[in-house]
Symmetry: D2
Subunit: 414 residues, 4 copies
């Protein structure tokens, strides 16, 4: 017998304010009411808005980025009850497709202001910037970063099941301790529960207030459930194994990315978009114990962009910082150095630092932990697919400065 068309388990309204839509929420909390039930084995579509809830516009100014309200991110679709899921089970999440909305074929990548969000290189690039990407089928290109075009490795930045009360308490404890211990630092090290900006789905009154007081922010991924892990390879055809901590699993998804590079270095660094994701869920009863699982695991899908290893120009970085200070086995410092090496290389073609920052955040670059034992230097690498440029960036070819225009900047810099 013919199958029916795939049902849409949640529709969003791109024109309505995000906080007004009860199928969305922006905190992790076991008590956020479910928005529907999904049966294992059933294929379903779920619509998502972009993570900021439409705050960033398709224009040529980064003022919206500079002034973005981060208290209300990320807007997630869900939570969904998965029929039969119980604590201790593993939810098997197969992503069958991810697509932007046909009527909104664009996305954005942004560098946040150092004082409002920041990013991996905010000491170097403290001011807001933005690139708009136009989608043409599998490809994207940007009027703000010329001479580049690439196929997206499309994926959700965030998938996860709701934490149990115990796990939520643990998150708030350990992140609170970090914040408490970091008061001397001139930066936000973690975002603790924040009633302002909370969207608790269809909850209201006391429950909404409780969720605002207790609900974990969605910004970090966390080992117990995944969440905002921002792994670019969770793309079409992938299968992710997520631990279940509450009855019904309460699965949520959001933060769709048309493309992202390893590290997503500018924080709002993927090509952020609204769109539709198609899932098929499975259940592995008692799977947490069976797999001895503490964090999610996954199998990537079979249709990733392939460039050939010899087409990946690769840069090395070590844990010696910009001031010449030697750090001990610090892969974070090493990866920042690796990034800076690419900046120096690509500036030779006329790109501005902000353009490169945006590009390395969202293009399908490969960031590896190469060596993590040769004391005191961690070594990391970043591979750039040379074929995303329409000119030859190989080291043997001459480097000519081209007219690279400008990415979107704030109005005070124009």
């Amino acid at each position: 017998m013919p199958k029916e068309a795939i049902r849409t388990a949640l529709k969003v309204d791109l024109k309505a304010p995000a906080p007004s839509q009860p199928g969305l929420h922006n905190r992790w909390h076991p008590d956020i009411p479910t928005v529907g039930k999904i049966v294992p084995g059933e294929a379903v579509k779920i619509e998502c808005i972009d993570w900021t809830g439409g705050q960033i516009k398709n224009d040529d100014s980064a003022d919206d980025v500079k002034n973005v309200d981060l208290s209300c991110v990320h807007f997630l679709s869900g939570p969904f009850e998965i029929e039969g899921a119980e604590p201790g089970d593993v939810l098997v999440v197969e992503i069958q497709d991810v697509q932007p909305f046909q009527e909104q074929p664009w996305g954005f990548t942004a560098v946040f202001d150092k004082k409002n969000g920041g990013g991996f290189l905010d000491e170097h690039y403290p001011q807001a910037a933005k690139a708009i990407w136009d989608f043409e089928g599998i490809y994207c290109s940007s009027r703000h970063i010329p001479h580049v075009r690439f196929p997206g490795l499309i994926h959700p930045g965030i998938m996860g099941c709701a934490p149990s009360p115990e796990i939520l308490a643990e998150w708030n404890r350990r992140e609170g301790e970090l914040v408490a211990a970091s008061g001397h630092l001139d930066r936000v090290v973690a975002n603790l529960p924040e009633p302002h900006g909370v969207h608790a789905g269809s909850a209201s009154g006391d429950l909404a207030a409780k969720i605002g007081r207790e609900g974990a922010r969605t910004i970090p991924g966390r080992p117990e459930h995944g969440g905002n892990c921002d792994i670019k390879n969770l793309s079409r055809g992938s299968k992710t194994y997520l631990p279940v901590h509450v009855p019904g699993a309460k699965f949520s998804v959001g933060d769709l990315h048309f493309s992202q590079g390893d590290g997503e270095i500018s924080f709002c660094g993927a090509i952020e978009m609204a769109g539709v994701i198609t899932f098929k869920f499975g259940l592995m009863k008692g799977g947490i114990a069976e797999l001895d699982m503490k964090s999610p695991i996954f199998l990537p899908g079979p249709v990733q962009p392939q460039f050939g290893p010899g087409r990946m120009l690769t840069f090395e970085g070590f844990s010696v910082d910009e001031q010449g200070k030697q750090h001990y086995m610090d892969a974070t410092v090493a990866y920042r150095q690796t990034c800076l090496r690419v900046f120096e290389y690509l500036k030779r073609y006329g790109y501005s630092g902000e353009q490169i920052y945006l590009l390395l955040s969202c293009a399908p670059v490969e960031g590896h932990v190469a060596g993590i034992v040769d004391i005191p230097n961690a070594c990391t690498t970043m591979g750039i697919p040379m074929d995303i440029f329409d000119f030859d960036i190989s080291p043997g070819a001459p480097a000519t400065k081209l007219d690279m225009g400008s990415c979107a900047l704030t109005s005070d810099r124009k």
Copy 2:
């Protein structure tokens, strides 16, 4: 006209003591005498002994590992004068092949004792262990880690040109400062120049003594020249661009690996071997300025093992440590957690912790910096090629404990 066979620019003697061979050296110093001249465009073979100079034996005890003398590592072949190379140039190093010696078709992977070398997981596995790998063409397997077999991604752990005096001084300064600042830590954070164990090639007398006093240890890779970067993808067919800092470049190579995983987590973690590497060198005059190069860059070769993305079982880790402490954006902590997740998974099949530690160090696992901006959690991943096992390790297949024997342990543990 027919070409002549490829000449061997340096031969080693696997039976003679390493310190007696003037074509070898184990420190970085601009004054180590060259052992020969190579013309750009010429293909040459260079023989290398294993990095320890033959200290580790093909047997079933890890006592040699426990007592290894690390003051004399790594034994490198060279330095070679590259004709025409001057400071400011870039040396283009094409690796045309790497092969083990036919008469010594085996290598070793070791876990060092925490008090003598240590490793990435020495808090968990503080005692020495070892696996011997037998080579059969492109494949290797080990009597110490059953049910595993994989093709090698063969490469040199170390390539580099000699530092200038100024660069050497900078290395010694910054690593000295780290040591000075870390006196309170219960571990060696860096190895400063050490006259004991020095092998200065053909230098003797005052020059050898000077090299002993000043010469940088070869253990870390360093941004200015590469060195022990331990990048598994510098394999057959790769092309590396190395900065030249002294007249003639003074290029050295060593630490050949039959295979290595991203991170090389057990420190002596690759499949260490003696062998022959074939190079062709090119020169990019003035290339450092032209490429604005601060650290080496490279293009991988076209013949890496291919498993298909859907065959890579991938684990996630975050910067929350084993004690539940939240670290701020620490990719090193995250990568350690990622590794530990694989341990938990693979133990279900009967492997011991040490066996897994050895395996993840040397098998072609892929370690990625997935997200480095979602405060406070860095997220890293490790992908394991499922096809290196002769049983099904996919999450959907049942996990049965197999007889996994034992890796080589120290005599007090047997």
Copy 3:
């Protein structure tokens, strides 16, 4: 400035009879009126119906296949005028995406009756059969061929520019000669112009009659323009270079395939579907002379399904036929033998011959001309991705017969 959404250059009506839609046509002729103009550089969507015009239903009987009217195939969308294109130019066709209609997420693969269409193995499987494939994102599966699931390598079977009158005359001459010389054979060797069933787009009266009399059938691909070449790799991201023979190019497209194997052996062998294709066109003025082009060339796209070479179980075949007759260097005979070897292998799991016939036609199998010089035996191979099965088909694993149900057969066979 924001870009506008991609316009749809042609809409089809899945519910209206195909012959009633003036944007479709089913013959190649230079005088078929254009249905719109497209500007080089513009991205456009073009809707297509399935090649039979909706004759095949989503049900469990192959009677529709047996009785299919082939006089009216293939229904193509177009022809489109490409602004500025002139004879001698090369039309550069970038496929940016291909998608099934969301409201019709299924396709069909069929074996034609030997007396009405036939196929590559119609001596072995002379009766009609059918499989319906359900689409779930990038994947498809069929209730008629259990235990199989794979990602589509989605593509159009047919793309081409209209022939000039001279080229059309040449086609009719040479195919007519073949038919004339083959009268003794008990099979249709080519389809000559056929007024019955013709759909000449918006042409009517004398022009429609002329097109019926002269218009080339769309069944074969032809060297001068491509047409129905059925190359599975003309998928998302590919770039095809097509010769232009008439002013405005008169480009047409159709016969969309969700997936196809090399050879498309059952004739209606791809997963045939209706859908939407997104193009961007470019023009290479005078390109035919510049490229010395006699037939189309192309670059595949970067997002093909990847299985890893070691996961492709590969079968060999030679030009000795089923009766033991030795043919001289006949790659067609060899490829048929190669196919038959796969049938024998897969029947061991319980699949019927018709199921295998359907499967090899549409799954992403790789068919190679391995050796074409070792007289008298041509050798061809067919590689089957083992990962499309949910059980282990490797030669080392035991072969157990499973309940494979049945594909759709004709009512007289049930």
Copy 4:
């Protein structure tokens, strides 16, 4: 316990005449004496001379090619008894490595004279030509075909077990019938048993004479055992399943290729070399029945050169021949047309026809049967990896004629 080094089961002498070496033979016959025994599970090396027995020299004249004696090809190493193998078994042949001899780091590709060997395009290029390839690790390049360099997909052209008397008789019957039926053709269609030039290994006297009278020539691959199938993907790491027809299997190997393109179009078209192949054998008892095997099957290895699908410039060909004659579904004609399209394209850069003929024969080009059902036109494709050229051959780049020198020609053409 340490394993011993891999033993060499057969050594050859590159300086002695091939017919004088009893470990070689050049016919298929069940009675050729074995040259040694190999135990399943044992890794062994087998040395091979080049297929012509050293007739072709590393020089700049093709006279040796023109006058080559083909009555004595191919010189194979073996046959080897595989312990325990019986008729009905399947021999599992894992190729662990293939290497040229270090002291002979070169190979040759040749176009035979139409009157002495011929080839796929001998109507177009009837005269002998030659290219010498120098090996530098995984790469090869030729002074006879400038601006090209590529990694080899190294493999044996021939592997097979001896035929039973019944199978041998069948070969001679069917090939004899072809010869008998082809007397009107102006070409050799098959090579029947030929006493002249026979080398029956260690057999002598009556046995040698019998082998000369009855022994099948090694030129064609044959379905019952594989033999000279010339499949480029039987490279390092591959696993081939060969039917066993006589007690002990009597396995032979030879015709080593540093590289070959699909089709091996110039007949002596691979990069022919002498060298060493490393095997590990397995036995599947009763495997022929279990696998229902009529011809060999194989799994390719995991280390093939990877170029990325978007780097393969692909040409199309159809079964309309050079005279404009329409053939019915003839994949051989189509593949010849496909080849000719590449000739036309590459000539634009200054290559001669013979240079292109040699290059397409031996470079890792991919030849596919694209469509084999669209009557009357078979469609085949050939993909050329663009990255083997040191200039840009993409259609968008300008085509400039370069100084391409000349391949080796016969002395009368210089």
